[in-house]
Symmetry: none
Subunit: 198 residues, 2 copies
Amino acid sequence: MSTELTPLQQRVLDFITECIQDRGVPPTVREIGKRCKINAPSSVAYHIKQIEAKGFLKHEDAISRGLSLPEGSDPARLPILGRVGAGNGIIAQEDIEGHLRVDPESAKRGDFVLRVRGDSMTGVGILEGDFIQVRPAETARDGQLVIGVTEEDAEGVVKRLKKRGSSWQLESENPNYSPITKEFRVVGLVIGLIRNYS
Amino acid sequence: MSTELTPLQQRVLDFITECIQDRGVPPTVREIGKRCKINAPSSVAYHIKQIEAKGFLKHEDAISRGLSLPEGSDPARLPILGRVGAGNGIIAQEDIEGHLRVDPESAKRGDFVLRVRGDSMTGVGILEGDFIQVRPAETARDGQLVIGVTEEDAEGVVKRLKKRGSSWQLESENPNYSPITKEFRVVGLVIGLIRNYS
DNA sequence: GAGTATACTGTACAGATGTTCAGCTGTCAA
DNA sequence: TTGACAGCTGAACATCTGTACAGTATACTC
């Protein structure tokens, strides 16, 4: 059995998700059939079994509307991987310090969260203590906010990637800091920011 | 009719909440009756009507398990209420423009999200387009970031509440803006910030 | 051509389910 | 005592609902 959903199964699952999220109540097999142009309730039951077997659905037998979305369909749970130096900080060891949940629409598998340290990016509203959502990537475009790592000491910093002349560098958004011009590597893109005022 | 729930109604609501959150499927009137020692399904229906009338429940008529928690009961899913002027903007009509999910640990019932407009708060890293998580409140302490509304035109702005001498004012974090000294009202506290880089 | 798997259809049915209705019980104020 | 009201009961009912079963159609393999 494939682990992928067929287009029809996807439509069924989409409809179930829509009902649960927008209406709060899961649909019945007949409601699904009506919406997805499946005439027999037993056909719908058949598909539900398939979808459940593939892990995209939880189904309680013999309970009306006994459909629910499995764990992890809620806000995506991203690991907090340590602090990132926005000044001269460090991506700490990859110990997971905790988890932060974010909107699943803006998260992809593999994303992680870093905590900002230092004030080198205050010019673009990235403050000490902020959580930054990072999407692993090895390349980036000119001007993007990235997580950079210098070869020698594996420091990790939030910076803006900039092309100056023929060479690339990592620039701060704070006049007190000078750009990093020595060899570095891009390890991820900054795609989100979460801040908590306590 | 009071706006408070009776102890029994609270137990009924707790059970419904428990079912929805833990099992994913709302209970039937008979399941509620069994758990809450109410023998007649019609009694349960009676209580459900009460609870719904008090605004703690949504109930779709004649639909099995047609119970769901009203907007805002899922602390993780906050309504986006419109834009908030960080410069001279406006809290738009309370139309819900969408939803944003946040970490449930940092959300409470009643929280909502506003989108920042303008650049008056860039000094503290609040940029145009950012989403701000707001907790409704009518009072705040000196120095807190708040959502303020001026009496005359119901404008809503993100500002810092400050006491200057004997009077309070709303200050921007951008030298280009002057403080709001005319009469205003605090409607909420800024407790979080979510930014998406696209 | 035979066999098999997948994706359905149509029907039937037992049980679940929301709702209605008539009536009961206790409390509280007039 | 009376009346109003909230809370509850029990029975009945129409409908909803998940499931089972017996088939059909198509595609693919052997």
